[in-house]
């Protein structure tokens, strides 16, 4: 089984982010970066499938030079080789632009399966995998927690709203967007990192893969959201506080 896992390097989860001088992106200078969380689950799923069915896991990532660290982390965890699409202004592309880049890199590989994380921790579009499937003409499924190979293709477990699940059958090749938490992640080991040094990491310049179409959803400006996160102590009698809390759960938290 040849599996391609698309991963993204994103700012560390609890990094303090500041808006840069252009007002259209964040100041990257002071930041620490890490692998996008749901991508780590996609990678884990791929590695487990390889352990079960044999084959090859290829890591694919688009990003600037610093993304190399995250790619090597993926190699250290067990991926066999990697493709780094070098692009400095990934954040300027919309989901279609990013997917076009990745799809172009994937096409010559003819994989059996493409796994991506559900959404990125920075832009959070959650669309790249679906668009890749469309561009490559492949079937897809999203919010996947478990993947099983069958004689006819794949059976996957998909998460639905409100605690429901659904199994879907689809043929290979296919694209799956993997939800966080479906499996247990493995940690990076010293042995893995040493082995990773000899694994192939092929660099491709974004320009070689074709021009992106003009963005149809332009990110005009970035602002700080009005609300700052702090503890709201709800006053009043038990009944009053309960009523206020329910209101907040409905309209601020949006879960009722």
């Amino acid at each position: 089984m040849k599996i391609i896992v698309a991963i993204k390097q994103v700012p560390e989860r609890d990094a303090q982010v500041r808006i840069d001088s252009s007002g259209k992106w964040i100041e990257e200078a002071d930041l620490q970066f890490a692998m996008n969380e749901s991508d780590a689950y996609a990678l884990e799923e791929a590695l487990q499938l390889k352990e079960k069915h044999g084959g090859e896991v290829v890591v694919l990532s688009a990003g600037p030079e610093r993304a190399g660290t995250t790619i090597r982390e993926a190699l250290a965890k067990g991926a066999d080789r990697a493709i780094h699409v070098e692009v400095d202004d990934l954040h300027k592309r919309d989901a279609l632009g990013a997917a076009q880049l990745l799809a172009a890199a994937v096409k010559p590989e003819s994989p059996d399966l493409i796994l991506t994380g559900l959404q990125s921790d920075d832009l959070g579009y959650g669309q790249t995998g679906v668009i890749m499937a469309e561009l490559l003409g492949l079937p897809h499924a999203t919010l996947i927690l478990q993947v099983e190979k069958t004689d006819t293709g794949l059976t996957v477990k998909r998460e639905l709203e409100e605690g429901w699940f659904q199994n879907i059958e689809l043929p290979m090749p296919a694209v799956l967007m993997i939800q966080s938490g479906g499996t247990k992640l493995r940690y990076a080991t010293l042995m893995g990192i040493k082995k990773a040094k000899t694994k192939e990491l092929r660099k491709v310049n974004a320009a070689e893969l074709g021009q992106a179409s003009a963005s149809t959803a332009a990110l005009e400006k970035i602002t700080l959201p009005q609300k700052q996160k702090s503890t709201q102590i709800i006053p009043g009698s038990a009944k009053e506080a309960a009523a206020t809390l329910v209101e907040k759960l409905k309209f601020e938290v949006r879960i009722l």
């Binding site: 982010v17 919309d94 989901a95 279609l96 997917a99 921790d121 920075d122 832009l123 959070g124 579009y125 959650g126 669309q127 679906v130 499937a133 469309e134 561009l135 079937p139 499924a141 999203t142 919010l143 927690l145 639905l160 409100e162 605690g163 429901w164 699940f165 659904q166 199994n167 879907i168 059958e169 689809l170 043929p171 938490g181 003009a214 963005s215 149809t216 959803a217 332009a218 990110l219 005009e220 970035i222 602002t223 700080l224 959201p225 503890t231 709201q232 102590i233 038990a238 009944k239 506080a241 309960a242 009523a243 809390l245 329910v246 907040k248 409905k250 938290v253 949006r254 879960i255 009722l256």
Partner: protein, 323 residues
């Protein structure tokens, strides 16, 4: 042709609640040209859905019907809406940001050379669409560019649905051409997680109880609250140590790690061993009679009070709001 179309979602034979919020959002956009949005329902038999939609503040209802649309599939819905969009050339296609929408609308937009502006939390003049970046730490303002329909989906709870009823709108039917061979995925019947095993790790709503509950006999108080919310019950370590709840329900450094949308901590002080198990929750609500309890440091909302009064009141309030 142009106009604002809002695609309503079928949830077990009825229109889903968040679809009405999408209607409200769509009407904000259409208000800029002094009109109301057109509702779209999709399925194999859309009578009931169309009827439901007709009185909810829309100018028209379009029924996209085809036997192959009986069950949701990405291929089916994408093909149907693509044909419809090419035929009608709408300016805007508004969706609720549901799991279903995330599954097919990006592909649909891509097919038409566009991109979905997803999970929108506010619509300003322009229109300018606001969505969250960096997991809510920043907001981004987006504008639609180029020729072609603007696809947008709106976040649950970001827009308040219009409560009132309006005069029944007219409906029309659109029958797309879909071939069975086009549909490549076979979805199964939805099911719940196995009843025996407690999977707190994937629970979206959790009510957790700590030593403030004092006795095992008082647990039903918390269990009622959980039932009203549709939440799983969890506990801090002392509760499980005493055998009042099974060890699978323990949250903390030596128990489960959870990351639900809502974590309601009842009578839990917030010792570090417990915190590390639930700090990933998106929203933490704490009820404790000690105003200095460390749990309030991490809570988004807190009620300082006697849980024996607050919890029953909360259960009542939740039941009332769900009716």
């Amino acid at each position: 042709m142009s106009g604002v179309y809002v695609i309503l979602e079928d949830r077990g034979g009825r229109i889903s609640r968040i679809s009405w919020e999408a209607v409200a959002a769509a009407n904000i956009v259409s208000a800029q040209s002094g009109t109301k949005a057109t509702a779209v329902v999709i399925g194999a038999h859309t009578d009931a859905l169309a009827k439901e939609a007709s009185t909810r503040g829309v100018s028209k209802v379009v029924r996209i019907e085809h036997p192959l649309l009986a069950q949701y599939t990405s291929d089916g819905f994408t093909a149907a809406l693509e044909e419809f969009t090419r035929a009608e050339s709408p300016d805007y296609l508004v969706f609720p940001h549901s799991y279903q929408v995330r599954d097919y609308v990006p592909a649909l937009a891509a097919r038409l050379g566009r991109v979905l502006i997803g999970d929108v939390t506010a619509i300003g003049d322009g229109p300018v669409f606001t969505r969250q970046l960096m997991q809510g730490r920043l907001s981004g303002n987006y504008k639609s560019a180029g020729n072609g329909p603007c696809f947008l989906s709106v976040q649950s709870g970001a827009f308040r649905a219009d409560a009132g009823e309006s005069a029944a709108a007219e409906s029309s039917t659109f029958t797309p051409t879909i071939d069975a061979a086009q549909i490549r995925t076979k979805p199964g019947e939805p099911f719940r997680g196995t009843a025996q095993t407690v999977d707190l790790g994937s629970a979206q709503l959790i009510v957790a109880v700590g030593r403030g509950i004092r006795e095992a006999d008082n647990l039903p108080l918390v269990q009622d609250l959980a039932a009203a919310l549709g939440a799983e019950v969890a506990a801090s370590r002392p509760i499980c140590d005493n055998g009042w709840l099974p060890i699978e329900r323990q949250v903390g450094s030596s128990g489960q790690t959870v990351a639900p949308k809502l974590y309601l901590a009842v009578g839990i002080s917030g010792a570090i061993q417990h915190l590390v198990g639930m700090k990933g929750a998106q929203c933490i609500v704490a009820i404790n009679k000690d105003a200095e309890a460390p749990i309030f440091e991490v809570a988004d909302y807190g009620i300082v009070g006697d849980l024996f009064e607050v919890v029953p009141a909360l259960t009542e309030a939740i039941k009332a709001t769900k009716q």
